[in-house]
Symmetry: C2
Subunit: 351 residues, 2 copies
Amino acid sequence: MTIQPTRAVQNLVPYVPGLQPRTRGYLKLNSNENPYPPAPQVSAALRKATNPQLRIYPDPVCTSLRSILARRFKIPASNFIIGNGSDEILRLICQAYIDPGMRIGMFAPTYTLFETLGQMFQANIITYPLEDDYGMPSAVFSSRVKIFFLANPNSPVGTFYPPQLMARLLSTRPRTLFVLDEAYVDFAPQHCLRLLRRFRNLIITRTLSKSYSLAGLRIGFAVASPQIISQLYKIKDSYNVNRLSQVAAEAALRAVPYFRRNIQRIKQTRARVRRELQNLGFRVPLSHANFLFAIGQQTHKIYRQLKARKILVRYFTSESHTPGLRISIGTEREMTTLLRTLKNLIRGDKP
Amino acid sequence: MTIQPTRAVQNLVPYVPGLQPRTRGYLKLNSNENPYPPAPQVSAALRKATNPQLRIYPDPVCTSLRSILARRFKIPASNFIIGNGSDEILRLICQAYIDPGMRIGMFAPTYTLFETLGQMFQANIITYPLEDDYGMPSAVFSSRVKIFFLANPNSPVGTFYPPQLMARLLSTRPRTLFVLDEAYVDFAPQHCLRLLRRFRNLIITRTLSKSYSLAGLRIGFAVASPQIISQLYKIKDSYNVNRLSQVAAEAALRAVPYFRRNIQRIKQTRARVRRELQNLGFRVPLSHANFLFAIGQQTHKIYRQLKARKILVRYFTSESHTPGLRISIGTEREMTTLLRTLKNLIRGDKP
């Protein structure tokens, strides 16, 4: 006989991440990875950190990494928790705060993991469709939910909600815990960390997967009041962040000039690609992330044609908005390849 | 105002792992880490795997690592799931199968994480005290629980329950899912993997933290029927095992002669240390793990005295059994230091 899992798990539709091809030769613009390698200091630190210390468990609370973050952001180390990617942090928040049937809120569209996690923990999910221009809907200001999940910049479009707007939302709904996923914020003009001083109903999550080119090493973190952070510590796996990821994260965070140049390059490429996509006839909303959302005719067909040519982008549909292609910003050269291929496809030439 | 977590999390007493001193100079015999470094092939593989691929997400389902495990154990790759340490796997099992109030069983004493996880998922925990000689209590054969958690060899004593006994238990209780944690099994004379062919109510968990010297990289796995494994895949974080840990695990699993020599050395040291602890007057039950459990007078005092001399062992108490010291097997030289210090303490000399 087979022993059955809980009903919530039986019914669960798992989150589907962007395709990770195992063969080479793909131009991978589907998971918002950084096209540039991590800082050279990361490799140097990793080489020093291999054998023989790997036999010892890692620091369960990432003391050194948190102290670097504390100095960098001028926030006490006790306000941080480090996760095996920010996905782990988001799951910990759900596990710590969601009781079955509890009302949680999120935009539509947004980071699709929010919905998967809500289902996993049997929340009652209330979605707030964004305005036609992806602006924040006014209904959010009267939302009665225990937790509200936002990504800022938001996916799949890259819309950025400025800190003043966020502050207004946080003060209007003081009984709602706002989980603000700033995965892409290093590509945006501002961030919301300083709101943590004023608001106790705020958790901000960050990742080193995008702006620090460390998706392969799984490092994310949350910043919030020590009261909130201590609840997450209670339920995390004891040794959730391995030794090499801790070392790599520390080295990456210290390499500030490399980080700034990397961000700058991606923003420049983003501006150029947006103009060229517009010239090709796509509608491309302003994005403050390391991706662009291209809306136009037959985007699903174009998605499949690109895939057949070994160019992976992500096709997004939603009930409330026009479907489109989410295209990660690659190197200048990669984007030139993409744009040339798109031009040929749209003109109907065989490239 | 502060937003409260769920009642289960509010009430939770977190698992306390062995002390991880951040300063050097400790003799660390408290976390059952392997005293020998990982195979040299691991460093070589890690050096090759650093920059620039770290910018890309890891394989979410560890395809290459699972195929190595499949060949090694002659079990299909679809029967495996890889975790960020076997602690993650154990948590996934609880999350997938435990409904609040559900009866789960475990020995007393055993791996203390089982109880923490049971509380986290609001199980009704039924404990079965081991016999005085740490044998399996007969009450287990009439247990009415949905899940039973066992470690084999068991902690903190190192008792090994042979596969024939496990088979009898599995066939007697076909409606109970048995989670058999074989973290230490490479130091034991047999294992239970072949029982998976006969029994669908069995999940076996393993780790590379102990016998493969990779505690710092967090790699564990579960083996069970694809029906069970698929439930765990649904709820795991998408990219739960980072790139470098996957690479290191593959290299470590391929280095079979190094692995065998390592195990052999630890077993030899274990036999010697057991005799010498017995000569010092301790009662030391037979252990098939990489640790020994020393029972005697004033073990808590000895624990503190050792700690003051920068030797860390673990002091375990239980309601049902005499307290004692769990001592991880270190190198020959480390164990000589420990035994000399113990001798001096017991004789009352100042070492």
